[in-house]
């Protein structure tokens, strides 16, 4: 963690300062601290520190590795192009163990020890929800890349935003029209029996009914499960489409066993790529997936109509045309999620530059600047596609992709419009105080 060392250079001086401040401001309550510290910092023109909350260990580890590569790549790009407001960007990474408790502690560490300007990069929803309250209390802008609905649901606070990746509610509802009109109307859903799975269940059931379809069976798999075959008989015979979404180390087992169970004569199968993120499509036992469909936020395989932006993005992060690491073809990326880190960092850059961000005292300005954003065009900064950011709900909305497995590759079959992903606001964070 070389980046840590850089931090410590000017650390001692600030520590001393801070202790004094603490002593003085003690009776006023420690909450006065960040302000003072901010003053100490803004004078200097040292790097902009971005606290990167990364799942190095725990069930999120595979995502974490690629989130890290993408983030480091983006930071490199930004710095090569002169940084933010002329200041270099420095990524301060801390492992949260994919655990909400540790996550909150890490956020505190960013704010109070590493003196980060913002915190960023969290994927797993329970870590986001566990950490966001602390970010709010510490008045630390917290840019998550989680695709959870927690931000737009209004559960969190003014300091938490998700400008880089569309949330699950949008993703799911945008799938319904295609599923209903191309795959079938009687759907059986298989999903993990926790909140993420319940979101899929609830939003998709509602969306498919709007399309005249119906979810005829819902199979919630306990997260502690490591073998799945025994649940498949619960799938009704008259199912047109199996809708599956799984996470965690057991995903490959799940898909393989589904294949063993059905063999050649299977119903239509539509899955969220989460079931196979970071898993090689060529893994033994996945042949049967040929002809099935997947949601992807960003197609893993370079498509025929690949944009120059996607090309540049792959080159920068080190991903080949099959979505695997250029250095190791077995090391498959989490391509449908990691772009969010890249795009979020560029949004932060834009926000800071718009706000004329100097230091922690300008954090509120930064939030307001980002809230002011709306249309985000397709570009090298936003290679996944054009987006609309909703300042009120702190949530971004973008195109979604449906790909079909053909000869072991995921080939683009459909691209949704941004409108497909929109839904009525559930909160207006701009009305909440800082």
């Amino acid at each position: 963690m070389s980046n840590k060392k850089i931090v410590s250079v000017s650390d001692s001086r600030r520590k001393a300062l801070k202790t004094l401040a603490a002593g003085a401001g003690a009776f006023a309550g420690m909450s006065t601290l960040p302000g003072l510290v901010g003053y100490a910092q803004s004078a200097s023109s040292e790097p902009i520190r971005i606290g990167f909350q990364v799942h190095r260990t725990g069930i999120g580890a595979a995502y974490g590795r690629w989130y890290n590569r993408t983030t480091q790549a983006a930071a490199k790009m930004i710095n090569a192009a002169g940084g933010i407001n002329g200041r270099p960007v420095e990524i301060v990474a801390e492992d949260d163990g994919t655990d909400p408790k540790r996550g909150a502690e890490v956020v505190e560490k960013f704010a109070t020890q590493h003196k980060c300007d913002i915190a960023f990069g969290t994927l797993f929803s329970h870590v986001v929800i566990g950490s966001a309250p602390r970010a709010g209390e510490l008045k630390l802008p917290y840019f998550v890349v989680s695709e959870g609905h927690h931000v737009a649901s209004g559960m969190l606070n003014r300091y938490t935003l998700q400008p880089g990746i569309t949330d699950v509610k949008s993703q799911v509802q945008a799938m319904a029209p295609y599923v209903a009109s191309n795959l079938g109307k009687k759907v059986t859903m298989i999903y993990p029996d926790f909140a993420f799975g319940h979101d899929h269940r609830d939003y998709f059931s509602a969306a498919i009914e709007k399309q005249g379809g119906k979810v005829i069976q819902k199979i919630a798999i306990p997260p502690t499960e490591s073998s799945f075959t025994k649940y498949f008989p619960k799938i009704p015979r008259d199912t047109d489409v199996i809708y599956h979404v799984m996470v965690g180390p057991a995903v490959l087992t799940f898909v393989k066993e589904l294949g063993e169970f059905y063999g050649p004569n299977k119903p239509q199968i539509f899955g969220f790529i989460d079931s196979l993120e970071a898993v090689d499509m060529a893994s033994p036992g996945l042949e049967f997936l040929d002809g099935t469909y997947f949601w992807e936020a960003n197609p893993r395989y370079a498509q025929a109509n690949q944009t120059s932006h996607d090309k540049a993005f792959r080159a920068a992060v080190g991903v080949d045309d099959n979505g695997a690491s250029v250095s190791d073809s077995k090391d498959v990326s989490t391509y449908s999620h990691m772009f969010g880190c890249w795009e979020t960092l560029y949004t932060v850059k834009a926000g800071m530059e718009a706000a004329g961000y100097q230091g922690p005292k300008d954090r509120a300005k930064l939030i307001e600047a980002v809230e002011a954003m709306s249309h985000i065009p397709l570009s090298d900064e936003h290679p996944q596609g054009a987006k609309i950011f909703n300042g009120k709900t702190h949530q971004v909305f973008g195109h979604q992709y449906i790909t079909k497995v053909t000869n072991g590759k995921l080939v683009l079959a459909h691209t949704t419009s941004i409108e497909d992903t929109l839904y009525p606001d559930e909160v207006d964070y701009t009305k909440k105080s800082f």
Binding site: T224, E225, K230, E260, P284
Partner: protein, 293 residues
């Protein structure tokens, strides 16, 4: 699906789980029975077996079957040696005091798990089955390899039984189990026997993992469930009773499969878990344990 076939499938799944569980739990039971040590790190030796299997198969690289057979020999051996070393360096020096050994093995648990994390990484990696044949009933398809697992597990269990009942080593083990001091008096090198038993227990867990890893993937956190389950099995089976352990493994494995037929998955897990708790509450010495503990 009709009830009959469903039950058949659930039973098959239960049987696979039972087989692997029995193998893992017998390892734990052996250690407890002979050494009176509760080995909390048992699950990590299981995990070690799976990870080593991945390494061996990728290293060998030839036909999956070859790699599999090599792994079936190498992984348990390596796990056994590591376990024996842990026994000689740590447990022995604790004089096998029950409380301290629990703490120490918790420590060993973390050490093994984290060293694997550092070297093998946090990913779940697949190991190819020695053969990937599927057979189809009118209602569902099923992997022949899973049946193969059941077969092998039964053979291995028979092997353990022969070892314990028919060989001189078995005799020594049983003697040590009955009365440590007496065994020592009769010139049995108890300390070496303990190291052997601890290694053997770990090897059995590793073997079970090699069998299961083509079905599941090798992951550094995969040790938790086998530990809990084999714990349960050993207690339900009556501490130290190998036969009881096997029977309990079958009961637990099957019930997990069958209960899932009748309830929604999570509810099934809840009921299965409660079932175990209440069996112990009303038969504190396990189903096959002697009355006085």
């Amino acid at each position: 699906m009709d009830f009959g076939p469903y039950l058949l499938l659930a039973s098959l799944e239960g049987a696979v789980q039972s087989a692997v569980l029995a193998l893992t739990a017998v390892g734990l039971s052996l250690v407890f029975g002979t050494m009176r040590v509760v080995n909390v790190a048992h699950g990590e030796f299981f995990m070690l077996g799976a990870v080593l299997a991945w390494w061996v198969t990728t290293f060998v690289g030839l036909h999956p079957a070859v790699g599999f057979i090599v792994a079936l020999v190498v992984a348990p051996l390596a796990a056994g040696v590591i376990a024996a070393a842990a026994d000689l360096t740590v447990l022995k020096r604790l004089k096998y005091d029950p409380e301290s050994t629990i703490v120490a093995t918790i420590g060993i648990l973390y050490i093994i798990q984290q060293v694997v994390l550092m070297t093998y990484g946090p990913d779940a990696r697949p190991v190819q089955a020695p053969f990937s044949h599927r057979f189809y009933t009118p209602w569902f398809g099923y992997s022949s390899y899973k049946l193969f697992v059941i077969g092998i597990a039964i053979l291995l269990l028979l092997g353990v039984w022969v070892l314990m009942a028919k060989t001189r080593i078995g005799l020594i083990l049983r003697a040590t189990q009955l009365d440590r001091e007496m065994a020592q008096a009769f010139g049995i090198p108890v300390e070496r026997v303990y190291a052997l038993v601890f290694g053997l227990g770990a090897a059995l867990a590793a073997m079970a993992a090699v069998l299961i890893v083509p079905i599941q993937q090798a992951h550094y956190l995969m040790g938790g469930d086998p530990l809990l389950l084999s714990f349960i099995v050993v207690i339900i089976g009556g501490l130290g009773s190998l036969m009881g352990t096997v029977v309990a493994a079958v009961l637990i494995g099957m019930s997990d499969g069958i209960i899932s037929v009748f309830f929604t998955p999570t509810l099934a897990k809840i009921l299965a878990t409660l079932l175990v708790a209440f069996v112990l509450i009303f038969r504190p010495n396990g189903l096959f344990g002697k009355r006085s503990s």
